[in-house]
């Protein structure tokens, strides 16, 4: 039972709300005999699903929603994740019966509206990347990365070239090296120079005839546009290698600079970042990939094509790397991103301009209280360091993040990129009003002050959330990853 006066009501597990014989749903039961199943295939013991009534079920999820913080709740400057407002009209459009109830095996002639939407989305994405051919199939950014690397492998195999190494910078997202391994490539790392650009000397020494390509985020995870990108592209192309653009930070440059014009051959987009598919507590996402004409024959099958006024799925792709996901991709995500792009039109450039303006404003107002490792104007995000607070008051980036929660703000990304100690990676996005940005500045400055005057307040934060800091070591050392019913350990007041 919730104690009187508690700010956060108790949140029992669904299994603890369960009572034998209670139920919510009553599926239709046709008036037909139920055939016997062979004994060896028949379920012996019923799964212990919760037994709850609908009122309790609705309360349960409402309680859990109350204990979750989203963009709808407040400012969420989680760097590299582009936590922008998600227009609500998208949910209405994705739920239109013509989309929501459309079976993916429906004949092409009875799915023309869906296919046209996908074809138009491909065209708009191609224009934004400056590359002609698009696959919508990959389910998320990291699958887009893996798809890109498979495309490189197919491209070089087709040319009879043996190349086994992919180069990534030390600032790369963890997904880049992980994708390299999954694609069966070796990894080579490149350093970042003092201005936050790729170190060209390091690069020239490492790019050779074994190099398949580069994976680069531009602007980088430091929020800085690589000023030497033209020379970088030249070095790789001169060696016969390809350039892969990780679109995680595309929100900075839509309508300003196109990856294809920067020299990239393969690009993935994150529809859940730049094009406003809601992040859903972890997903879904969308990770379309665009390529140059020379790589187009290898794109996953099927693609969406137009013959005159008719749209169809093209499965006849003999050089394709194959399929990377079921069907033609996460269609509901396409509806949302298509609507988002149609609402902006060519004005998408302003989206990126405001994202960059908002980030630079925060940077300008915070760089006198937190360390700024690369003192330049930023793009859509920037990285501060709490090393000054750590050195002087013993207050870490983690402490700052936890204390921000007490100000009603979701923390930025912390301890990333790895090249910055005590990193705080801040991405405000274009949708925030100035008042929310000012609230954040005030909170960050207040925390820096608190670090000096009352560091224990910061060390022990958060103070106003449903739980305090967690014992994460215990969670990893004695993993309890499902409810264990009668054998479940009693944790309250444990140890």
């Amino acid at each position: 039972m919730t104690a009187p006066g508690s700010a956060w009501p108790d949140a029992p597990l669904l299994f603890e709300r369960s009572r034998p014989g209670r139920r919510a749903g009553r599926p239709p039961r046709p008036d037909l005999p139920v055939p016997d199943l062979p004994e060896s295939l028949r379920r012996a013991r019923s799964p212990r699903l919760p037994e709850v009534s609908e009122p309790e079920l609705v309360r349960h999820f409402t309680t859990l929603a109350d204990r979750t913080f989203g963009v709808d709740t407040g400012f969420y400057p989680l760097g590299s994740c582009t936590m922008k407002h998600n227009p609500r009209v998208h949910e209405r459009l994705a739920a239109l019966p013509g989309f929501r109830d459309l079976h993916p095996h429906q004949e092409d002639e009875a799915a023309q509206g869906a296919l046209e939407l996908m074809f138009r989305l491909q065209e708009m994405l191609a224009e934004i990347a400056g590359l002609p051919a698009v696959t919508l199939q990959p389910a998320a950014g990291s699958q887009g990365e893996l798809t890109g690397l498979m495309l490189m492998r197919a491209y070089f195999a087709d040319r009879g070239e043996e190349r086994d190494t992919i180069i990534t910078p030390d600032t790369a997202h963890g997904t880049n090296p992980a994708s390299v391994t999954m694609a069966g490539y070796k990894l080579e790392k490149i350093e970042t120079d003092a201005r936050g650009n790729l170190d060209l000397d390091d690069l020239r020494g490492k790019v050779n005839e074994r190099t398949a390509g580069l994976m680069l985020t531009n602007p980088s995870t430091l929020g800085l546009f690589d000023e030497g990108i033209e020379e970088v592209a030249r070095i790789f192309h001169d060696a016969g290698a390809l350039l892969y653009y990780d679109g995680a930070n595309l929100n900075a440059v839509v309508g300003i600079s196109r990856p294809g014009d920067m020299g990239f051959d393969i690009v993935h987009y994150n529809l859940h970042k730049t094009f406003s598919q809601p992040h859903g507590g972890g997903g879904p996402g969308g990770g379309p990939v665009a390529v140059r004409d020379t790589i187009a024959p290898f794109l996953p099958s099927p693609t969406v094509v137009r013959d005159g006024d008719v749209y169809r799925l093209d499965h006849d792709r003999p050089k394709s790397i194959g399929r990377v996901r079921g069907f033609a991709g996460p269609f509901g995500v396409f509806v949302r991103s298509y609507a988002f792009m149609r609402a902006y039109g060519p004005g998408l450039k302003e989206m990126s301009e405001v994202a960059v303006l908002n980030a630079n404003y925060l940077l300008a107002r915070l760089k006198d209280v937190y360390d700024l490792p690369y003192d330049r104007l930023c793009m859509h995000e920037f990285v501060l360091s709490a090393r000054n607070l750590k050195r002087e008051q013993g207050v870490t980036a983690l402490d700052v993040a936890k204390r921000l929660m007490d100000y009603g703000i979701h923390p930025p990304t912390i301890y990333f990129p790895l090249v910055v100690p005590e990193a705080l990676m801040i991405e405000p996005t274009e949708t925030e009003p100035k008042e929310r940005l000012d609230d954040f500045v005030d909170a960050m400055r207040a925390i820096a002050q608190e670090a000096a005057t009352s560091p224990e307040l910061v060390h022990e934060a958060p103070h106003g959330r449903p739980v305090r800091r967690l014992d994460e070591v215990r969670a990893a050392k004695q993993p309890v990853v499902r409810y264990l019913f009668d054998e479940h350990p009693a944790l309250v007041g444990a140890d």
């Binding site: 204990r67 013509g98 893996l146 809601p278 069907f327 902006y344």
Partner: protein, 445 residues
């Protein structure tokens, strides 16, 4: 005209530029070399206000024939089960909709707890010990499982796939396999099901065997015997299962499988022309530290209160980078939570009743439809019929009568141009089956 999704006034902009110390937004972009700047406006269709946008997108939607507009018996991997209104509670709460991966547990106890509950439900359905927080779909989780197996069974680099596994699942596994250094071998079916002896033979030097229950041809496999054949050959058994069947069909964990996975769509997601949906992936305890993707665990906070947190993160890309068990980051949490709400709404009785409705309607269709079943083996919710004319032609003609009769298996299987796969969920009625029988009689005569 500025977009309504943006929030700055002209006065805000002036103040902000002054604080930065630049005179225009253009100055902020001086770090972008002139040679790579776009010197024109994007060539995109003009902006639409919300009213016009809705009209335009509604017009596109109206040109699709959805499952409410014709009587549909399409399945073959995506199924028209009932999605209860409580699933909307999850999907429409802005906190779930607009949060991201719960990296900061104090801000995310609700979504973490819900994922923990989802993991429990998946383990209960499959008879496994650990589930991840979801994969992209029923295809990619099969590829993920191959990556787990690659490292769990040293010295063996072959995966055996039953040909009765969904063609799309097999295609995705084959796309991923070269990067994993895996060789794929397929075992053909005998009259719609897989022969355990053939599995035993093919698996003698394999790391794992993947089969599907019920299989793609609509037949129930001798699943326990297939798992045993794999085990006898020293290979791990992986079952691709339908969550909506697991109220009546045995859990893979009970008949010797090491990993169970599948497409979650049938439990709580709309067909949505193929996505987004969720793939589930669960395994026995031995594989917990090799699992791909997010896993939520239980712990305590400083005051000893129960709390939930992303755990075993040393498996993951943001910690382990090139040594990670997967590159997955964004997953399908929201769809998985709709699945949780749906399965909780059904409860154990409801799930069994859905399974029984599928069994009885399918049995009824087998009797009622005036075509020969293509296979003898028992069915769950799909049954394949031989058609006297090509099945694709049957589909075309039946649709003219307002009935989509099913999936033409010749799209994937050689020699099956005259086989039609009919799916029956609990949303179909006896009268619907009667109507199907009537239309098939007419178009096949």
């Amino acid at each position: 005209m500025s977009s309504g999704y943006l929030s700055l006034t002209d006065a805000d902009r002036e103040e902000m530029l002054a604080a930065i110390g630049v005179s225009s937004v253009d100055e902020l972009f001086e770090q972008v070399p002139p040679g790579v700047r776009l010197d024109r406006a994007l060539d995109l269709p003009p902006a639409l206000g919300e009213t016009d946008l809705v009209r335009h997108v509604e017009e596109l939607a109206s040109r699709n024939v959805h499952t409410g507009a014709e009587l549909s018996f399409l399945g073959a991997g995506i199924y028209d089960h009932y999605v209860p209104s409580v699933a909307d509670v999850v999907l429409s709460r802005g906190e779930f909709l607009t949060a991201y991966t719960p990296y900061q547990p104090e801000m995310s106890q609700g979504v973490l707890q819900a994922i923990f509950e989802y993991q429990t439900v998946v383990c209960e359905l499959t008879g496994m010990d650990v589930s991840n927080a979801s994969g992209y779909d029923g295809c990619t989780v099969a590829a993920d499982a191959c990556f787990v197996v690659r490292h769990a069974v040293p010295g063996r680099s072959k995966i055996v796939l039953a040909e009765t596994v969904s063609p799309q699942v097999r295609q995705v596994v084959k796309t991923y396999a070269p990067g994993f250094g895996l060789e794929i071998v397929e075992v053909t079916h005998d009259s719609g099901t897989t022969d355990p002896d053939r599995i035993a033979e093919a698996a003698s030097d394999a790391a794992a065997v993947l089969f599907q229950q019920p299989n793609f041809l609509g037949c129930l496999e001798p699943a326990p015997e297939l798992a045993q054949a794999a085990a006898d050959a020293g290979a791990l058994a992986i079952a691709h299962v339908d969550p909506m069947s697991l109220g009546v069909l045995e859990a893979p964990g009970e008949y010797g499988c090491s990993i169970a996975l599948g497409e979650g769509q049938a439990a709580g997601n709309w067909p949505s022309y193929g996505g987004p949906h969720y793939g589930f992936l669960a395994a026995k305890t031995d594989f917990v530290r090799r699992m791909p993707g997010r896993i939520v665990g239980e712990t305590i906070d400083l005051d000893g209160r129960r709390a939930f947190v992303l755990t075993l993160q040393t498996r993951e890309q943001h910690i382990r980078r090139e040594k990670a068990t997967s590159n997955i980051t964004t997953n399908q949490t929201l769809l998985a939570l709709a699945g949780l709400a749906t399965l909780a709404w059904l409860g154990p009785e409801g799930l069994r009743e859905v399974g029984e409705a599928c069994l009885s309607l399918t049995h009824y269709a087998r009797e009622r439809v005036p075509l020969e079943p293509a296979f003898e083996a028992p069915s769950f919710k799909e049954v394949a019929f031989r058609t006297p004319i090509p099945a694709r032609e049957v589909v075309r003609r039946a649709r003219e009568h307002g009935v989509h009769p099913g999936y033409a298996l010749g799209r994937d299987y050689e020699g099956m141009d005259d086989v039609l796969l009919v799916a029956l969920t609990e949303k179909r009625t006896v009268e619907d089956v009667d109507r199907l029988a009537e239309v098939l009689a007419e178009v096949c005569s």
